[in-house]
Symmetry: C2
């Protein structure tokens, strides 16, 4: 007996919808690194593609109702983008690569470059990303965190691993640094090249209360969220990590860094808890509220004895560049040793991937080569 069962791959798509007659390809990365975006919207009046940190590009409609535009050649990188259809933002519905974000997803296009770019996947030993779930007593919710362990991580190694706490920005979730930032790929590459010490990297959720997402203009919610984040980090995340992973408890083997909101959190936690952290990084740091002295009441040049590294970076085209320049000036005025790194770029992930690739090798002394 021949039993015919419906062929495996001629399958209803997940939602039981018929696929569109001609399947659009979008984005299409051309050999010369120009990118063509396509969006089907026969009745729309105006459609643009908005690439993070860039001006919207107007698209043109063809007789099939497909809007198209081709960019100039782009520098190899991974770019976030959305379409704007008559004033309404949306992801690219035919692009499976979605950038997670709690205030609105976007799509991603990867313009591949040479394997020397830190975020390109290479045939090197790969680390693992562990997704942990826990009930936070501080925040009174169920939350998650991600932990990177390097290739060949050995829980019985003679020396405990150094540990970096790496914080995402406002509106990201705990997956931001891996799902968008490619942090695990960057670490794999740098470690394989002997440029970075094998370390454990912890990526917790950066909100002390999830209300912060809805009430970001409410100063009391912001303060409560920061305090809760700090308390959860110190009382819940770090103890859990130190129980689960073979990491050092020595402050000289502990770093904290982050982007945007996470940069501010790194400064506020790191500089106020130098008994716990010796290495601090702030990328495109979101603001330090109120005054320097209120925020860092005990911070003066005596901190230099404890600080192994205070690394502050910002892109020139970032709306926060001026604020970060002022932070540099305030630290200089107080004779607090730090590095002030000015890069090209705006408030976008391409800047933060490069920041991470530059910052991580500075941590915990040179790796043995």
């Amino acid at each position: 007996m021949r039993l015919f069962v419906c062929s495996l791959f001629v399958m209803l798509p997940l939602l039981g919808q018929a696929p569109p007659a001609a399947r659009l390809v979008s984005p299409e990365v051309r050999p010369d690194n120009r990118v063509t975006f396509r969006f089907r919207a026969p009745n729309a009046v105006k459609v643009t593609v908005n690439r993070a940190g860039n001006k919207p590009l107007e698209m043109q409609k063809d007789e099939q109702g497909v809007w198209t535009v081709t960019t100039d050649a782009l520098e190899p990188d991974m770019y976030g983008y959305t379409f704007n259809v008559d004033g309404v933002g949306t992801i690219d519905p035919v692009n499976a690569r979605v950038v997670p974000n709690l205030l609105g997803a976007s799509s991603m296009v990867h313009v591949h470059g040479p394997s020397t770019l830190p975020w390109e996947t290479n045939d090197v030993p790969r680390g693992t990303v562990h997704h942990h779930f826990f009930k936070s007593a501080v925040a009174n919710d169920n939350r998650d965190m991600y932990v990177y362990t390097p290739a060949n991580y050995n829980p019985k190694a003679k020396a405990a691993y150094p540990v970096l706490y790496l914080l995402h920005g406002f509106s990201d979730d705990a997956s931001g640094w891996t799902a968008v930032g490619q942090a695990h790929v960057i670490f794999d590459n740098l470690i394989a090249q002997g440029k970075m010490k094998p370390m454990v990297v912890v990526m917790p959720l950066g909100y002390g209360t999830m209300e912060a997402l809805k009430s970001q203009r409410d100063a009391s919610v912001r303060a409560r969220s920061f305090d809760g984040f700090r308390d959860s980090l110190l009382q819940e995340v770090i103890p859990q990590v130190e129980k689960t992973y073979h990491v050092s408890k020595d402050r000289t083997q502990r770093a904290i860094a982050g982007l945007s909101m996470g940069g501010a959190e790194s400064l506020r936690v790191g500089l106020n808890y130098l008994d716990k952290f010796a290495w601090i990084g702030a990328f495109s740091s979101g603001g330090v509220p109120a005054s320097f002295t209120e925020t860092f009441p005990n911070l003066d040049s005596k901190a230099n004895d404890k600080l192994k590294l205070l690394w502050i970076a910002c892109g020139k085209d970032d709306g926060l560049f001026e604020a970060n320049s002022k932070l540099d000036a305030a630290l200089t005025e107080r004779n607090i040793k730090h590095q002030w790194i000015v890069t090209p770029g705006a408030h976008t992930w391409p800047v933060w991937r490069r920041n991470l690739a530059e910052f991580a090798p500075l941590l915990f002394g040179q790796p043995k080569t």
Copy 2:
């Protein structure tokens, strides 16, 4: 000196776009479990919301150009949906919960139910989901897999853990069972209730070649994808898992199960490799191509000595119900012991979450309680 740095939370959204004037709320789950969907599209002619496995619901436009519809009360569950705007499918741009899928993302709405529902997060000990990356020699690509370890997983436990290989459906990626299926939450709950043995669950990528996604109608590509999947599972995934985790190598401690395409893979690998698997599950199985005897050349009632469980389930409203009924008949005709489970529902995740919650407790004998 007071240093004012731009306030942390009054931040450019990720893409530097101005937020819309009035922030839409969509979906809104009402206390009586009706759900209101909203979509802003002032120029659209027709907008529907398409909930997986259901007929599209027409939406009505208000004077602000916002399209709205409210469902009847829904059974507590997690539902995938998309909007269709003048023939173009898209996710809900204001809903951060995106369902990953390689052929087109969708959005998800969670209608919360009692904590006894297996996919609801409870205050129970939580397992961990480990994301592994490796170069596949079989598929000649870089790929990933997820591994669940139960709460209090002990790599030095006296008895090695039993292991379930759990396979996603066509168009899903390796994250499907956790990101959409809530498999890790279901396991946490069942283990905490003493209904399921603590086990390691491996969720690999289900394609032997990624071409399968583009050429699903090409029989030779389908065959190559299946063969590659099988070879990668047996030669790469299982050895890697057995090296990394404290899992048993005894066939009676090894199970394979999956949904749709993954169900077919579970049958084809499991029933042809009874020296490796003793427990097999197929949920809404995508087809067994060609003939039963060609697909399972050595399968007859002697398999009953080796099979601890052959569990085949399908929803009555699934387009594959007839095909699965025939599979049941063919097995019955050959006196191959199996369970044939008919459930309500279509080809959707709500069915597969329930399948998993019913199947997992049957594995590896009763847990000690």
